[in-house]
Every structure is written in C-alpha cells, then in structure tokens.
Symmetry: C2
Subunit: 384 residues, 2 copies
C-alpha cells in the first residue's frame, strides 16, 4: 500500500423522498441560488419539489441552462446573479455538469482575479468559495461527493479541470427515483463513466492494497449486474439505487486510498469532448481498451486480476486471458450503445491537433507511471 | 436498499512516517492534552515522537493511564486537567480505548451537568465538545474514524456507549509501522473485533445493497488473508497496513449504508466485559456463532451468501452450508486464540445477573429485527 490521505466531509442523504429533508440541512437565513441544467429537472418535477421545500423559509433565485460540459461563459452569468442578489449558498439540482458548474461558480464568485485563471492555475490561489449542496438527478460523475470539477471554454474549445477541498458539497441528496425519467443515452453514459472512473484507480499495478482492490471490484461487479435493469426497467428502484450509490463511491476518493492512479484515458478523452463535443463517457469507452492493449506489459498483473475477479476468466494463456478481458469490456461498453471508433460517431479526427492540445495542457507524461507520452497518446488516437 | 445517511468528516493521514505531519493539521496556537494509555505508547516511541513534533510550536500536557475499557473515574481526572490548563484540543495516542476515552473527555469538559448522564442519556443534551485528533497505534475498533465510544464505570461495573457527530476526530494519523510492537493478544483481538464489526452490519437479511455487501465481503476477505502474517510477522508492513485500513473501514459508517444492522452480539458482549473484564473481542467471538445458530432462519439468506462468497462453500444442503460457514468462522476465531466458553477463560457466569443487566440497559429487543429478546439472550448466555 502507498501512503495516502483521505478526506471527504460531504454528507450523503440517500433514498426515496429525501428531498423533503432539504431545508433541514441548509444554513438558517441562507440566500440561495438554485443552479440547474435543461428541461429534465423541470420535467421530472425535481426543480418544483426543491422550490416548494425552500419557499417557506428561504430567499432563492434560480439559474437554468447549464450545458453538458458546462461552459465557462454561461457560468460567468451565474456569477453575476450571485453578486447582484447577494447569494451566499449554491444549490445544484442536476447531474455532474450542473454540479461541476456550481463548484466553479462557488469559486469564481469570491475570486479577485480573472476567473479563467482558476482553470489555468496561473492566477492567485483560490482561497475561498461559497458553500454549496446538491440534489443529484443523474448518477455518473461522482461530483456530488468530491471536490473536483471540469469546465469547458466554448470560445477556445478547451476543457479543463480543477480540484480544491473548498468545494466539497456540504451535503448531497440522492433520491434514486429522481432518475426514472432520464433518457437511455444518459444512463448508458453514466454507467460507462462510473465503470471507467473505477478502472482509472484500479487498473494500474499491484501494491497489495487489498481492501481498495476489493472495493473497486465490488463497484465494477455492481455496475455489470445492474446495467441491464437500469437501461431496460425505468422504474426499478433497487437497480437505480445501486447505480446511484456505486457511481458516487466510484469517485469519492475511497477507491484511490493506497493505490496509484492512471487517468490518462480521461485526459485524452477531455480533448476529444472539447474539440468534437462527443459525450464524455463515449470518449472513455473508445480510449480505455486501446490504452490497455498498448500498455499490456505495465498493466499485466492488474489486467490478469481483473480478468479473473471481474470476468471469471480462468482458462488460456495469460495473454489470452488479458485479451479476453479487454474484449469482454468492449462488449459491455457496446451493450451500452458505445461505438468503436470516432468515425462511427461521424467524427473526422485531427490527430495532430489533438496531440498539440495535449501538449499545450501539459499532458505529456500521463498514466500511473508517467509513461503515456505524446507518442503513445498519438498511437491511441490513431487507433480510435 | 434502505434509505440512509452517511457523514464522516475525519481526515485520514495514512502511511509510514506520517506522524511528522501532525503539527500541520493542528489548529495554530492550540493548547493540547495528549491522552494515552499504558506503557506501549511509551515503549514503541510513538509518544516521544508526538511530543517532539509538538514541542516547537504547541503548549501541551500529557495524561496517561487510560485503561482498556476506559474508566469513567479515570477520565474525570483528565477533565480536571483540561480545565486547569485551559486545554482546547485533545490528541489521543493509542487504540480504541484511549480514543473512546478522549471522546468522552471532549464532551465532559464542556458539559454542564453530571457527566455520567452523557452515558445514561438522562441529562441535558450534549451540544458541544472539544476538538480532537488521534494517532492510532492499535487497529481494532474504528474509533479513529467514527463518532462513537464506549465507557466503563468501574464502581458499578457498567459499560455504556455514546454517539454524537461532535466527536468525530478532526484527523487521524495511521502509521502501520507503529503497530509492530503490539502484543499478540491485542492483534488477535483487533482482527476479531474488526471481523465482527463487519458482520454486525453484513449478516442480517438481504436488501439488495450490492455495493455495501461487496465492501463488507472485501473487508472480511482481507482480514482472513492477512491474519496469519499479522500474527506471525511482526514487521510485515503490508499486512499491518491492510489490517489497519480494514479495521478503520469496518466501522466508519460505510458498511452501514443502505443495510439493516444487528449489534446484538456487541450489546451482550459489553455486559460480559463489564462484569468479568473479559476482552471485548473475546466476548464477541463467544456470542456471535451461538447467536447465528439460534437465528439461522431469520439470517438464512445472508448466512448462505456468507458461506458462498467468503468461504467458497458450494456443496451440501443449505443447512449444511450454513453450519459449515459457522464452523469455519469458529475455527478462524480459534486460530486467533479465541476460546469456546466462558468457563475456558475461567469465568463462572451468572446468567440471571447478565440478563438483569441487559434489561436494566434497555436491551430487551436487540438485533436487526428487534427479536433478540431477553429470552433469546438468556439462551445465548446459557450456551457460552
């Protein structure tokens, strides 16, 4: 096991009809900005439910229109509203994009420099942020219980991440029944996203972190088991509950305890989403299997463990076991609507530009061993 | 899955040579009381290391002599020192007893009523507590990352528990190498204690909480795997690291997410420790298998899952599988020095008195279904 630090002060309030508890956990007298995305929070009634709960006791404004891959430009408009109405608490109602956007607003509202520098990390340090909480409607990113976020600048087609303990949600309300109305594509993406989050922390090299490995395997197995029911039974509460909690745990820090982490798939994927607008999860499903094939030697021990413990593969040579595990992973992704190449999504890639973007963002030595060089990233991009 | 709430703000700083980071996480200008137990913190050098780290920057006093099953009477002496020296931060250096004791001191120091009422819950509500942190030297109870504690009043031979979010440690430093000098009996107890903590949350009835079940099984498997090396290789860092993190996770709340909990074994066990001074873990190892045998029907589905997933038992009738799983559990406990009856420990039990104590403490309907009545508790006590 490697040394590690684990800290996660977000309170999770999980289960059916939990939105009714919202007011209990808000600071008395808070002036709230409800931040939401598109029509789904309106259509499924969650936004109204939140407003009804707040109405007797709290001043609030609402700001809608946060895009998937939330835009820097949109978020700055929310910052203006925060300042104008003396907002002192942010409440995200939605999925990862809305929550990530809210985390950015929380920092930008109190930042005394150009807010773009929060993302480029070239300005003064972020030392303060508005408190925030979330009502989750889309399991996928884990943003409801971590202190990370990813923001896109539409103007320059850049997608950049941030991380500070200041933006842990104070609490997050997770009601699985609020996911019943989600479109199939978002559910598919959410399952793949959670699955790959887990693998970014699991599939590296062994360090004898037994509990962390078992926890990661438990989340992978859960996602494999519940995926069909999540996709095909829109009101299967148990499947949605298991999905929601698994997605949260996949990126709340617990799977990183004592182990090395990869994240190359995410870094490369962000460039694809930024340039071509392809769904985050779909970029991950393209890149991960190719990256594994190229880094089979470095990841051999963990690939074999994955083959055995997740897919139950016991026959064949080690190479055959690994190839079989990669193949089964691809099939799982395909069962969730993922395609095999960018061309299948109608995207004509510009590998030179993508590599240049990776270089520009400092991603020249990715992966758990820092050996996903630009040359390797180019090979990955050429194959997808 | 059942509805649940999860909240755990304790920062874990885990790994070799982490005590050197202690001062970084303490509030500037804190006036500290170091709380420790017997000779072990002195002999293994941890206490000196802590003092050396604090010396340049902090005022501190030290209070030693916290007993296993910390005594109310001893803790009141520490409260006097807190008041006399205007202490405003407590630092527990030790295992679960020292940490539980420190959590009690944290409350009692600011409590404006008879401190015994903190335990009997008959006084005014506990509304404040001194901040505290821990340096863990004995993995077992999970107290380093939860908000519970158990205290014994020597005078009346009572062992009572408390729970309030006010006493979550602000941070806990877990350096596995600090466990190298532990005596065998404490290691054996620690493994059994962690194992049973996990089972109290796992072995009830199924509610389709997939991740939580996998997590619990991961901890059980880890403890089974590392037990021999923990006991026989005093300086096996990896075994100790896995033990330490598993013990913490076994009772930090994550295994309770979405599932019913039992805890009857603990409640009954506390009465045995209070009356006869038998080690906490040894009471658990006596009670649990007997309780399972008596509650086989109610726990059938989970006992079968445990038999299959933990012990790999696939042959025989369901009853045979369950009996075999219970038998293997007993053998595991025996391999850790646990005995089979109170008589084996030289204890002559008074079942009537024990049942009267359970009644006196309100433990008349224990277990996940509230059906461990005094009659069932009596049957358990008669068989051990």
């Amino acid at each position: 096991m490697q040394n590690f630090q684990f800290y996660n002060p977000t309170r999770i309030i999980f289960g059916q009809d939990t939105i009714s508890q919202l007011a209990t956990y808000l600071p008395k007298g808070a002036r709230i900005l409800i931040v939401y995305g598109g029509q789904s929070a309106i259509n499924n009634g969650t936004l109204d439910e939140v407003k009804t709960t707040l109405a007797p006791d709290f001043y609030y404004q609402a700001f809608g229109g946060i895009e998937p891959n939330p835009h820097f430009e949109t978020l700055l408009k929310a910052v203006d509203i925060v300042k104008k109405h003396k907002i002192d608490f942010l409440l995200a109602v939605g999925g990862g994009s809305v929550i990530d956007g809210t985390k950015f607003i929380a920092q930008a509202a109190l930042y005394r420099d150009d807010p773009w520098k929060i993302l480029t990390k070239t300005g003064v340090e972020v030392k303060d942020a508005l408190p925030l909480a979330t009502v989750l409607t889309l399991p996928a990113t884990g943003s409801e219980m971590n202190c990370r976020g990813v923001i896109t600048r539409a103007e320059t087609q850049e997608k950049l991440s941030f991380r500070t303990e200041l933006i842990f949600p104070q609490f997050s309300i997770l009601d699985p029944s609020k996911t019943y109305s989600l479109p199939k594509r978002q559910l598919e993406n959410g399952i793949v996203d959670s699955f790959v989050h887990t693998l970014e922390q699991y599939l590296t090299y062994p360090v004898d972190a037994k509990v962390t490995d078992y926890f990661a395997e438990g989340i992978l197995k859960t996602l494999l088991e519940i995926a069909p029911d999540v996709i095909h039974k829109p009101d299967d509460y148990q499947a949605r509950a298991n999905f929601m909690w698994a997605a949260t745990l996949a990126l709340n820090g617990i799977l990183a305890t004592g182990v090395p982490e990869d994240w190359a798939t995410h870094r490369i994927g962000h460039e694809l989403t930024a340039l071509y607008g392809l769904d985050h999860a779909r970029t991950l499903a393209l890149i991960l299997p190719v990256l594994w094939s190229l880094k089979k030697e470095e990841k051999r021990a963990k690939l074999l463990q994955y083959a055995l413990r997740i897919w139950g593969i016991t026959s064949g040579t080690d190479d055959e076991k690994i190839d079989s595990a990669i193949e089964k992973t691809v099939h799982f992704f395909q069962s969730l609507g993922m395609k095999n190449t960018l061309a299948d999504y109608g995207i004509s890639k510009d590998v030179d530009l993508l590599v240049a973007r990776l270089e520009q963002h400092g991603h020249t030595a990715l992966g758990e061993q820092g050996n996903i060089t630009l040359t390797i990233s180019r090979q990955i991009l050429e194959r997808i």
